[in-house]
């Protein structure tokens, strides 16, 4: 038992995690492409035309997955940040740092695709409605987290300050999710929910789920790549980093 536990904790050190992440990245890229091709095929060629929105509804296949990911990545980021704060584990804080830009990108794409969907259907790119505004706040929370960490010189202090910001911001995630039921908004209700059957055709649902899986795999691949860069930047003073095959300099004879 204790041996297994120590084995597991071994991966919590940047030194063991760096090569492991390098091996995992291609796997997630392959999965992302497979799910993406399947999802796009379902979304454009299998899912039928919508009765009221025509072909315009197909924006759903990127809008809903990016919105889900923007919220989900935030929760994962806050979780890693909390772990970094409570266990003082630097790899956890690096993971939080690596997720933030991808989360911000997802939030931005959610707002962007939402605007491109709102214009033809509601007649406006933007309204200050509960769902849209809370998603915009999520985008700013990501930017705030990145900016705060960048502004503090000492990385360990930056981790702590960022973690507190990330944890306070968690309260915004349920607000986004339930905004469509709590307030009277222009935005439609949840397309998929746990307690009732989905209000859409099965093929549309599958297209959406496949695209969500694609973005999930993409996010993991990208976050792992970024955390490897962060490890090199932050551990540059250590001996193991200098001994890596890619950073080693051959001594000229």
């Amino acid at each position: 038992m204790s041996k297994q536990l120590t084995n597991w904790f071994r991966f919590a050190s940047p030194q063991t995690f760096y090569p492991l992440a390098g091996k995992m990245i291609p796997v997630f890229w392959v999965l992302a492409v497979l799910f993406g091709v399947a999802g796009l095929w379902m979304g454009f060629f299998v899912a039928p035309t919508d009765a009221t929105q025509g072909e315009g509804y197909r924006i759903i296949f990127v809008h809903v997955p990016t919105s889900w990911m923007s919220m989900f990545i935030y929760l994962v980021m806050a979780g890693w940040a909390a772990m970094g704060l409570s266990l003082n584990a630097r790899l956890s804080s690096m993971m939080a740092q690596a997720l933030a830009p991808t989360g911000a990108l997802m939030a931005f794409l959610s707002l962007w695709t939402g605007a491109f969907w709102g214009k033809p259907m509601w007649g406006t790119w933007w309204v200050w409605d509960a769902r849209l505004t809370s998603e915009l706040i999520l985008f700013f929370l990501y930017l705030g987290f990145i900016a705060l960490q960048a502004s503090i010189e000492d990385p360990r202090r930056a981790d702590k300050a960022g973690a507190i910001l990330a944890l306070v911001g968690v309260v915004n995630v349920p607000i986004i999710y339930f905004s469509v039921t709590w307030w009277n908004t222009l935005h439609q209700g949840a397309s998929v929910s746990i307690n009732k059957s989905p209000s859409m055709a099965m093929t549309m649902l599958w297209g959406m789920l496949l695209m969500a899986l694609c973005l999930w795999m993409y996010s993991i691949a990208v976050a792992l790549t970024r955390v490897r860069a962060i490890i090199l930047e932050r551990e540059s003073h250590t001996e193991w980093v200098k001994q890596l095959p890619e950073t080693k300099v051959e001594v000229a004879a």
Binding site: E55, G56, R58, L109, T113, T225, R226, L232
Partner: protein, 62 residues
């Protein structure tokens, strides 16, 4: 199959700007982000190599 021709597919029932504006932005983002990260990683590797080389030089010619 929803489409009778490629032109019909690209027209998206009159919603071409909105559908392709959304998918295009996502595609662009998911191509650019990995490229930027790759650049960041190789930048970190270059900095490290320079550092090590400088240290070695210092050791050889104190």
């Amino acid at each position: 199959m929803n489409w009778n021709s490629a032109a019909e597919f690209f027209a998206m029932g009159g919603y071409a700007l909105y559908v392709w504006g959304s998918f295009g932005a996502c595609l662009l983002a998911f191509v650019v982000e990995p490229l930027l990260i790759r650049q960041r990683h190789s930048q970190a590797v270059r900095t490290l190599r320079r550092q090590t080389a400088a240290e070695q030089l210092e050791m050889e010619n104190p």
